[in-house]
Subunit: 337 residues, 4 copies
Amino acid sequence: MIIVLKKGVTEEEIEHVVEKIKGLGLAVHISKGQERTIIGAIGDESVLAATPLEALPGVESVMPILKPYKLVSREFKSEDTVLDISGVKIGGKAVQVIAGPCSVEGRDILLETAREVKNGGATLLRGGAFKPRTSPYSFQGLGEEGLKYLAEARKQTGLPIVTELMDPRDTELLCEYADVIQIGARNMQNFRLLTDVGDCDKPVLLKRGLSATIKEFLMSAEYIASRGNKQIILCERGIRTFETSTRNTLDLSSVPVLKEETHLPVFVDPSHAVGRWELVGALSKASVAVGADGLMIEVHNDPENALCDGVQSLKPDKFSELMAVLKKVAEAVGRTL
Amino acid sequence: MIIVLKKGVTEEEIEHVVEKIKGLGLAVHISKGQERTIIGAIGDESVLAATPLEALPGVESVMPILKPYKLVSREFKSEDTVLDISGVKIGGKAVQVIAGPCSVEGRDILLETAREVKNGGATLLRGGAFKPRTSPYSFQGLGEEGLKYLAEARKQTGLPIVTELMDPRDTELLCEYADVIQIGARNMQNFRLLTDVGDCDKPVLLKRGLSATIKEFLMSAEYIASRGNKQIILCERGIRTFETSTRNTLDLSSVPVLKEETHLPVFVDPSHAVGRWELVGALSKASVAVGADGLMIEVHNDPENALCDGVQSLKPDKFSELMAVLKKVAEAVGRTL
Amino acid sequence: MIIVLKKGVTEEEIEHVVEKIKGLGLAVHISKGQERTIIGAIGDESVLAATPLEALPGVESVMPILKPYKLVSREFKSEDTVLDISGVKIGGKAVQVIAGPCSVEGRDILLETAREVKNGGATLLRGGAFKPRTSPYSFQGLGEEGLKYLAEARKQTGLPIVTELMDPRDTELLCEYADVIQIGARNMQNFRLLTDVGDCDKPVLLKRGLSATIKEFLMSAEYIASRGNKQIILCERGIRTFETSTRNTLDLSSVPVLKEETHLPVFVDPSHAVGRWELVGALSKASVAVGADGLMIEVHNDPENALCDGVQSLKPDKFSELMAVLKKVAEAVGRTL
Amino acid sequence: MIIVLKKGVTEEEIEHVVEKIKGLGLAVHISKGQERTIIGAIGDESVLAATPLEALPGVESVMPILKPYKLVSREFKSEDTVLDISGVKIGGKAVQVIAGPCSVEGRDILLETAREVKNGGATLLRGGAFKPRTSPYSFQGLGEEGLKYLAEARKQTGLPIVTELMDPRDTELLCEYADVIQIGARNMQNFRLLTDVGDCDKPVLLKRGLSATIKEFLMSAEYIASRGNKQIILCERGIRTFETSTRNTLDLSSVPVLKEETHLPVFVDPSHAVGRWELVGALSKASVAVGADGLMIEVHNDPENALCDGVQSLKPDKFSELMAVLKKVAEAVGRTL
């Protein structure tokens, strides 16, 4: 950690900062320049993270040298993490596609959609049983009934299922049914929920929060990993910006940045990012080209009657057409699909 | 609701949209202009909110006419809501100040800080027993022990206490101790937590999410109100923008906008917004001047040894000096403090 | 245009709004619902754009139905615009690549770089003679001398040249040398400069401003088109968001949105968006996959000694390797390169 | 400047970085920690600003220690700059108010408005003769005719005039008429225009760009100062964020941050920031309370017929009422008005 002192800092102030740092067990290195005196604190930087050095008199700014995440960092583990979910390899050469409806709306429609996305080439099935909705007056999901339909769809198609956890009181229930537990964007910093899934042995798909920096995203993954669960899939799904022509702004630069910073697999959800089905195809192709390990795409048999996010759902035939192109894009960048 | 149809829409497409709307029990009004055909749907707009009209062929855009929130709106209740928290009136002529440490760190320091903020003129005491922290390696709060110290501080000073709820499994415990339950910025869209506090009879202080629009902020309040709990205090605490010289950007325009849109009291937390104690005074004065019903300010006896947010905490003497100026600003804009 | 009136609007207020609209030559249609009265103004909406209807008593909000841009809209001209720049077709099936250094730094290095990007497959050459720099103390470009070197590079390689215009007093000079005049992101709303290039007969490459919405971007293109110059290339180059791990956030969703809204060709500049050469490859592939008509990539022979933007420049060999992959991606999405 | 090297950096890479820095005339200090090797470059940091050290092999990140602006910094000149504009002191104890219409629309209406804002207590008159408009089809200003009316208004009222410069070809003309030259938000990084007004001897009111950081804002002021013109007034006018309930988000935290960083006077323009006259009063009070040296407020005699920004203009009587309250707020924070 580098501590920059104010111009005109006194010797007493310097001494006070130095003692503080030494008291935490770190070595100190002082460098007096023409304009500023700088203190380098050498040793385990994490103990300093909890200490408000900026609050000390004479301190102008504090610059950490190391990243605040460890277990999830590429520095900690250089080779890519590859997860195996009932035989589906996540994070390897093959690009995987999670597809299905936003929410589970009924047994028959779910089973039919599951068959169709399987035929289209999807390798995992998505569907929400518990739905976070902006309005208390909107459809909130079928709950356990929805989970049962998902399990039935898995049995029929063999597709592992991905479904969202919203409440720590449902963790046990969800773990019974799900193959992958999804933590939604609005819960990316619900630290209790992260701790809870960190104690499970199920893979977790963690979505990036609407206004989360990449650093915060990785810190949330670190929460899960620090409890012992290292089976984490990161999922970019758009960030909030001033632009209103799409629901959110899909930050595809985050994919190569994440691949540098972490060994964890990185997915992209273009459906929630753009919010309109007409744009999902173009952004899906871009996601594969940019290096994503997988996609999460909303598919609905009958979008105009969907109870949730109908506007952004692809019909099964459009999904199948898209998959054919995605296969070519994957091959162009040295992947398979 | 206004439905704008695409140029070149067919008669069949128009008919299909019209049937859809009529099927939901609304009247339809069609207006054919030179450039566009427009359909007005007349009646209870809320049934349309769940229907993805944008997904219908021929539809270009859909524009709601009414706001999606009801119970919390100024239109629903025109006079200001005034809460009474153990005799402290929130939302009336008097500007109230919640002060105290970020987290409860120990019994003695809390009791001392409580006495000092009371002397300085604070009318409520804040302090976190459960702390949401970006890093899993940071201090997470004292839990129930912290709640007990808060209760002791209340007994000694008479100040009602405000403390944060992070987990629905703690709701009952918190309700035993707290006078006001705080929902933090990162939980503003933790819909299960909102539902839970909506079922309590304790006042709730709801903080605006880092990337929440004012509309979403009010929808989260609506979640609470829709369960029966109408004792809600809204709290602006800065939004996330590109500017990095302050931790967040305090959106003071939100205060007069909220006062137009809702009857609920509106507070401001300048400490978390700016993240540096040197700036807290200026923004506190601005918050009172802009029309806030109250402030939430971090005060710590010994900021350099604080376990949390020491950099943004005022020392008690600075707090007292600030309160003297705030009193004058309040009077300048026709309020008391 | 739809005018929504406030709840409780008086008959006099309605009458006043109606007269105002009729006075502008439009027909009026009034619809009284249970909750709100709505006025539809039928006719040429553009006359209303200049009238502050929101300022009239009783008006709650005003919603335009039509887009504010005309000449550049897909509605005005449905087929794609294809430009021919010395034989290079822009906006057709082939994806074109503009490459070269950020700024022209000297004759020899420019000529060498020009040969290398030509060998790598670039079809146009970029290079700044006038440079907008955040600091007054940074290198500001070689001026006319730089333009001469660019002309020499064109002569040697046959590559048309793209160079930036910063000042209306240089328009004539630039038109003598350049094949395409670039308007930089910081000048996207320099309306006088837009007007000036609108009066030229040179193609214009217009970069999106750092905080410009897609609508504003198209309005700036409309400025140019409204003066008679319809040879416009739009270029996405990243927008400003809260994320700091890349210099800007490349908004690739803007490409399919622009292709819907306008007939003009759309390019992407990943170099300026991400600001680090390691990320340029991934984003270039994504840009081609998402449907861009071309790319603008910074290439420098000796990045560590570059006078400008060395950190984001590819070396010529990396550029050639990338071009080979881009060719495959282009083919995967039905284009050539 | 601190250069952080990558884990696993080689001795050759370290040597290369060291030579590079020494070659620029700086001393080097190397510190090898457990996790990272760090190089401190001691001496005139500005020579490094132009050198892309991040592009060198083995370099992880580069952290400047000093601010990139000099002449405008508080460190360079600790006492506040106070400008004298025809006797109106800007930057002293008195808060000054610039008021008037968005654009000059005609002689009579300007003269009347000028008289009224003078009566209300304004100390400078604003009015645009050249108007930057998002649409090429909107009113673009009266040009020199407008400047003449402004001069006449000054003669009648004694109020110095503030008017916007958009084009370097108008600099001379504007200098003849204006007392303060305004550089609008969209031109904050029109570096040629900044250089031009830096060569004038007229005070400049520089507005913050919509997506400009405070650092960039000060760098633009540095452009002007570096040419010799030190008479600069900074003006916060709202930044672009995701929030749409106000036109922009007024960043009042920028005021105390700027007062720390620079000796220049800081104004606030609440009218453009919020975009609705109903909100202008509250934000004006907040601006004075937060420590602004002045305000810029739009006032129009007949907002519903304004050719520009009628929605955000106060009528003269509302302006006078507001000024009475602002006087009290100014006194509450130790200023006069």
